[in-house]
Symmetry: C2
């Protein structure tokens, strides 16, 4: 068992022994008046039985929602708040969010606002949420087609990371999480990036070993700047274009997962990093090659570029109308608050389009 001590809470990573920690919280000291678990149909089947068996606590109230980003809405929040009220939750109740980023972000938001805030715990079950979404206190929902447009910064009471949950994930889901691991290395740890070059097949990766350094990078950055006023923005590398690609893809025949879209975004933004900044061409090539080795190329039509630029203009990272980027100065070093012209963004997307 490994623990990471953040300012306001702990992240605990381990095998079956972590359930004993959860059991202790629920049975010692002042018990919660009601303990709820938020799941979707997938985690209800793949993760909840393990949780219930291992934690061995009576009286859980299970709240189930539908999986998928398209349900990360205020309407689903209304259902969650209603379910909490119906099962008699009060201010001394707690919610465990058992699932990926959607469950964690939305469950955290609902807990953080139910009766002005009750305790919540994150149990991320996807690679993406284990290395990224569960750390840093960003909670929220999509609104009016804009991702995380309504939300909060609020820390959970604890995060429990159980890598065996990854075994039930489809490879595509693992790959999505892998994109954020690549990003963490690229923005903050050249040594890790170098080592990752040895990864040829995701099936052979020892996640138990790759999660901690990635978590540590995220932790270090968010603790320096919890409210994203400065340095935390470097975590948005790949995300300005990536979010636009992701939004666009959801209205197309081929919807992308978050990490798949960020993989596209990182290639485009590496290109921008070379054009507007000092990232060497050789680095752009290496980043492009590594990502395309692991991620199928996303075949969007050239006329989708204008749609994507329109979406970027709505991004909440923008300030006063210009499109904001975090770019690479070199592999392992990022800079934030960079702006690019629309023409250059167009060029970067076309660079991706023209890749073999």
């Amino acid at each position: 068992m490994q623990s990471f001590n953040l300012k306001n809470y702990q992240i605990i990573l381990g095998d079956d022994e972590i359930w004993g920690v959860v059991r202790n919280i629920l049975t010692r000291g002042t018990p919660y008046s009601k303990v709820m678990i938020l799941v979707d149909e997938n985690t209800k089947q793949d993760c909840l039985p393990k949780f219930l068996e291992q934690v061995d606590y009576k009286d859980f109230e299970v709240i189930e929602i539908k999986s998928g980003e398209e349900h990360k809405t205020i309407e689903t929040c209304v259902k969650i708040w209603q379910a909490m009220g119906k099962c008699g939750a009060d201010r001394k109740s707690a919610l465990f969010n058992l699932g990926g980023g959607v469950i964690g972000d939305m469950g955290g938001f609902c807990a953080g606002t139910f009766k002005r805030g009750i305790d919540f715990y994150q149990i991320p079950t996807t690679l993406l949420s284990q290395v990224d979404a569960s750390v840093g206190g960003k909670l929220g929902i999509d609104f009016e087609g804009i991702k995380n447009n309504v939300g909060l910064f609020l820390d959970p009471k604890a995060v429990y990371i159980y890598p065996p949950f990854l075994k039930s994930l489809p490879e595509r889901e693992l790959r999505s999480g892998f994109a954020e691991i690549i990003k963490h290395a690229l923005i903050a740890d050249y040594g890790m990036w170098e080592q990752m070059q040895a990864i040829k097949k995701l099936k052979q990766v020892n996640w138990r070993a790759l999660i901690p350094p990635s978590l540590r990078i995220k932790q270090r950055i968010v603790e320096q700047d919890p409210y994203e006023k400065g340095i935390r923005k470097i975590l948005n590398f790949g995300h300005t274009i990536g979010h636009a690609v992701e939004s666009y893809s959801h209205s197309s025949q081929l919807p992308l997962r978050h990490g798949e879209a960020i993989a596209v975004g990182m290639i485009c933004e590496a290109y921008l990093s070379n054009k507007t900044f000092v990232l060497p061409r050789v680095a752009v090539r290496r980043i492009t090659a590594f990502i395309l080795h692991h991620f199928d190329k996303y075949p969007f039509p050239k006329d989708a570029v204008e749609d994507m630029i329109y979406i970027m203009k709505q991004d909440k990272k923008n300030v006063g109308g210009s499109i904001n980027f975090s770019l690479l100065k070199e592999e392992g070093v990022a800079v934030y608050d960079q702006t690019c012209t629309e023409d250059l963004i167009r060029e970067a997307l076309l660079y991706y389009c023209d890749l073999l």
Copy 2:
């Protein structure tokens, strides 16, 4: 101009000079990318012209919602978030809430969650919000018939209190705010309570003088315990029964304002304070007499008592099923985390019913 320095923000009370302070914020330093004002049809007519003329800043975006507690809902939040998005607000935008408790609570909640939180300023325009709601960071909306069931604790950037706004208020609205002033004195300041005995007619009160001591009581309490884990609960004196009376009244022929319901609640809870605790009978009589001097008796039928008790059981101050009260030990001293039996609560409501 008078200022109260709280830990995270300032409350500024004064006449026209306070608008210069607002103007400075908007024109000096880093200006906001967009400045929005939330109003309802009443404050749009009675307060907005003064604000716009005095602050003399271009480019305000006015967002208007319908007045009244019945609109303090998630549906109205959706409209406010939409309006914010439509006018191009980003993370560096700000919202001014120009109105009473509904505008302040709901506008603060929307600002605190829009793009995970933008700056907001409270400009309370009713007596109730000037002495109470605007201080202490409680934000939220009603949900499923329960007041403030969804919300946040979050401080504004500043609060501007302009007593001349009170001139446009109907007397009934003033009386509603007066109830919270009575409460502040009863729970924390015997001297103030004594002095208030001289008040015979609300029309003759000098609010400019009565607001500061009331604000100071609220400030002192919320700063000791911002998240209502302990001492802050004393502010709930009169509110357990008061909220139930208020909710009940909204489904009756004679809907009460918040303060009017709290006035009923304070009489009933003074009765409980005597029955379960040490508050002398003479104090119950004095409290009853003072309140009935200023507030018409609310004529609810005896069979409404069960409805009210049902509503109390839903209160978010409850923990693990029992009904929670803050009661008076003596005039000017309150205690929290008291519970009463349903029978006694029934008795207290019937005591009120039987008053002449």
